[in-house]
Symmetry: C2
Subunit: 188 residues, 2 copies
DNA sequence: TACCTAACCGGATTGACAATCCGTTTCTCG
DNA sequence: CGAGAAACGGATTGTCAATCCGGTTAGGTA
């Protein structure tokens, strides 16, 4: 099952490219019928590769997810615990702005019907972020009383807030500063 | 137009009650066909009263909107500018948690097809909130560089973040503190 | 009360879209 | 090259939003 048939692989790639372009042009609806039309293939083909809109969404989000994992890795390697938190949260936030598909995936809870890739990435992220946050908490840089989950939610909320404005990228640093100042421990 | 015919008024009220119950039970989809079925009336009746899902949504949000206006009024009357901001933001946040319909309305931009009631409430809120925030800015209690719109978005983002967790109401104060600390001026 | 008309009601119908199913075509391996 | 597995395509079915118009009712008037 590891290797798809040649035509299947071609169609899958074409489909992903088509979907990515749709998302890039602001259409996050990812109507599978429409994707089939644009990619010039039958509806059945689309549904075989991605049984649901969500499956397609998760496949699209995969690279952004990988980028965040890189960021989390960096964060955990940095000497200063608080700087680690900054790096982690900035990476998570920036990727959500860069890729709306990723934003939707990361904001929704893990489900059993997620594709394996996504589940694995999510687990790895939880572990890495957990380490970064634990260290910061230990050092007193992080306000007590906020769980890892709280912080995850707050970053997603910040991405949502940015999305309400006309030029999210122009305001990232401002909103990020609000968040960081808000979650910092008093000892900072 | 000020006074509906008796049957029309009755149906409108019944419809609103049905929709409110649907929202309260966690169904925010507000499918107008479904509302008609549950309220025991024809689809046409529903569509005459509320031509679109959004019209119904805005009608539902009206009381919550009024409550926020009250809160904003209070905020503007309080002596301390920063306390005014706290009151304002807490009211805005709490109403979003209490009424998902209101949350959706307040998070989306003003549109021309909004019902007059909503437009009026939105305008009044903008003015009231603007006064509260201007005073706080003047006093240095508010971090510079954040517009009224930014703050509006940040509150909506916080509501969104709370909605990602299982028990929003239990974490309101924690998240609100993060937000307030984040937007406070250094002179606080 | 009896009538008239504007306002309102209801649900059959149309249109758009998601999702499935299966006969046909294409690939791959021996 | 031939057989069988895998993938393709699109007709079809089911669901839901939204419209349209013939039938019904409220409420004013004489």
């Amino acid at each position: 099952m590891t290797s798809l048939r040649a035509d299947a692989a071609r169609n899958r790639a074409l489909l992903l490219a088509t979907a990515r372009q749709a998302v890039a042009s602001g259409d996050l609806s990812l109507q599978l019928n429409e994707m089939a039309r644009r990619a010039g293939m039958g509806v059945g083909t689309v549904y075989r590769h991605f049984p649901t809109r969500r499956a397609l969404l998760e496949a699209l989000a995969e690279p952004a997810f990988a980028a965040v994992l890189d960021g989390a890795q960096n964060a955990s390697l940095h000497d200063d615990p608080w700087t680690g938190v900054e790096i982690l949260l900035r990476a998570l936030l920036l990727q959500q702005l860069a890729d709306p598909a990723f934003a939707e995936v990361i904001a929704s809870p893990a489900t059993d019907d997620a594709i394996p890739q996504t589940t694995a990435q999510r687990d790895e992220f939880t572990a890495l972020a957990g380490a970064v946050l634990a260290r910061a908490r230990q050092s007193g840089a992080l306000r007590p009383g906020l769980t890892d989950e709280d912080l995850h939610h707050l970053v997603c909320g910040t991405a949502f807030a940015l999305g309400l404005g006309p030029t999210p990228l122009a305001r990232v640093e401002a909103y990020l500063r609000v968040l960081l100042d808000g979650i910092a421990g008093k000892a900072e």
